[in-house]
Symmetry: C2
Subunit: 479 residues, 2 copies
Amino acid sequence: MAQEKKQVEQITDMEADFAQWYTDVCRKAELIDYTSVKGMFIYRPYGYAIWENIQHGLDAEFKKTGHENVYLPVLIPESLLQKEKDHVEGFAPECAWVTMGGADKLEERLCVRPTSETLFCEHYAHIIHSWRDLPKKYNQWCSVLRWEKTSRPFLRHREFLWQEGHTMHATAEEAREETMQMLNIYADFCENVLAMPVIRGQKTDKEKFNGAEETYTIECMMHDRKALQAGTSHYFGDGFAKAFDITFTGKDNLPHNPHQTSWGVSTRLIGGIIMTHGDNNGLVLPPRIAPIQVVIIPVAQHKAGVLEANRAVMDRLQAAGFRVKMDDSDNSAGWKFAEYEMKGVPLRLELGPKDMEKNQCVLVRRDSGEKTFVSLDGIEETVAAMLDSIHDGLYARAKKNLDEHTYPAFSLAEAKAIQEEKGGFIKTMWCGSEECEIRMKEEAGMTSRCVPFAQEKLGDVCAVCGKPAHKMIYWGVAY
Amino acid sequence: MAQEKKQVEQITDMEADFAQWYTDVCRKAELIDYTSVKGMFIYRPYGYAIWENIQHGLDAEFKKTGHENVYLPVLIPESLLQKEKDHVEGFAPECAWVTMGGADKLEERLCVRPTSETLFCEHYAHIIHSWRDLPKKYNQWCSVLRWEKTSRPFLRHREFLWQEGHTMHATAEEAREETMQMLNIYADFCENVLAMPVIRGQKTDKEKFNGAEETYTIECMMHDRKALQAGTSHYFGDGFAKAFDITFTGKDNLPHNPHQTSWGVSTRLIGGIIMTHGDNNGLVLPPRIAPIQVVIIPVAQHKAGVLEANRAVMDRLQAAGFRVKMDDSDNSAGWKFAEYEMKGVPLRLELGPKDMEKNQCVLVRRDSGEKTFVSLDGIEETVAAMLDSIHDGLYARAKKNLDEHTYPAFSLAEAKAIQEEKGGFIKTMWCGSEECEIRMKEEAGMTSRCVPFAQEKLGDVCAVCGKPAHKMIYWGVAY
């Protein structure tokens, strides 16, 4: 019990200091470790296992929709990066540069990839010649570097893991369809697997990706009512294709430039999971992504037959496809309860001598703490139903947070007052000018999150400048 | 037919110029592309898919034996790399150095990881305190950089994909067991999945890994009778643990240093597959690793019902778990045959109107070209048996090559003469001195491959110096 107490003491109250609570969870749940390189983190086994589950889920969706995985070099020559002007302007300030190979100074310095549009374009120029070569739909799982000044586990690393899809299409329509398809794959994955409700929309020109024509985004609301951009999908038109001289002969026998997309999500999704679902006992993992879905804690495990009975339940659940761990270590039950609560395991199963007599076990939900005695007959179906119910409950709670903290506003002053008092997303009409975005940032501390696909008419003038406005936009304070 | 001819013409005869044949296969089978960064390659979808299959197979073995995946930073501070003297001496000449972050010169330069022993040790020092924290058995899938002067697809890249296992154990015995367990996992995988027979043995001190106490290896013989080191497993003792101050309190309540291992295989395995099994029609892939195991080519596909019949067979084979592709493009049958031969697809299935009448199809083996008419009844079992038979055939052919080109020799002159005339592995007695290894290299162009576990007594004196010798060693010309 001493250990249990210690562990619970070590985590900051989330209402008192959300940022410290977040860091505590990342460390105490053993998701991450710090290194001697500033801003670079170690993804520990439990953190990496969450990422592997995200990878497997998304990779299957990518392959189902005809994408293929590739791997391109980690280093990009400076001259290649400079081929597209907007792109290099955006990324150059954040590049880490390799200038020495062995003992030799390099003739041209090489950037550790911050993103790979330029390398994909170089490759596509090699392999795209005819309309028969299109579409090309490639994806890459890798790490990228951004030389940021500040850092925070999962949310802002100098190196982070992600996937980047890069596709080339014969027509703008097809590329636009791809852009939207991938955004929807991300959105569905967030909602159906990570239990994170999203707002789907388009970024403003100010906030779009460097070099893109259009950027689409999914925006989530964290427990502290700040926004997290969870994934983006970009439509490039043929700008990069022209800069990189990618040309194909069409069915009309004439030369054309293909139309391009790129899209990505990263390990910041893990930060989103933590901040959407976590509580004062630690991490709360959505069941479909949890490395351990059910932890089995034998009760009075020294008594005859207890371990065997627990092992039998574990075998049954594993055979049914669940990710199960049994902890029969000599730690106290109290320590174990706290440990797996901290790690956010969705279900705890307890089974002792008395339960054995009654052919039952105890299931304890991580989300609500609710304790139920259930029969061992059909335990597979019971566990499946309860995991689904936990998923639904987490989603509903997050959706409630999102809905209850999204406020309409009709002036900059009102928007500012709501943000200061309540936080959350503020929705207003917007004239479309960058000036109004800058004012909102400077005066109310909020950036535009997106122009949501689901539009509402909140009048017909911009909340910032009062000029005519036809679009509703979401504002927020973002991670 | 014009296209078919063109494709076949483009590949060099392997007996005429093996190196050029190899490069031709890498490019024509679309495994790899060159980039504007010298020595860095693109893993194209077909090449990457082979690596993904290797990953899935090995990762399952790693997890079954209790290993966990992690991800550590891509950059290593120079001071960290320097903590273990032998290690840094080996790697510093091959490091690529990051010296700039954004516009700022870094205070300390950072090496793009050539291998991650030092980072793992830094992390282990954080997390290992008690005997309860041991063993730690971590693995990482990532890319590493070695600033080599020359390069060759899959065999020598400045950046290549690999996995690196790093483990810590309470005792030397346990660490030695781990070293051997992982070597055997690699060996079994090479033989049972890649159909590549291996020689298991220990590297000499001259050839062992920088900083290791002992290095174990699996060595394969390529079609041109040169050697390929396919995987290594290292025992480190507690040298790194001392250098990095990793200490745990034992059950005896005293401080101890843990004992360490590391082990790795890389995408050079793909080079090994190509050079072991390939022929003058291109790649020949072992069925258990082939991205496409069966390609279905509809015959007279414009005729009524043909496509439907082919699709039905595809559905049946996919449902049975095979990786199947149907090519119903408008390319000629001849073009398709050459294309999938070049890509090394183990089995081609042809099905046309006449076959439909007889409830049969044609199966053509890539390894032998053998053509068989088989009933569609039980096609799943027939395909399974034939893929197994192809695996066995490829293995037997490679084993025959290895056995027939391994020669005993009793003097340096004899070893040299055999290597020049016939190539292959030369086995001799060896006194254990580095001088004799250097002489063998200088005078016969061969390096020691390993002291094999399966020892034979070929006399009792060293073939190089004539002094007493108790060990038999393998020599060869290596990739």
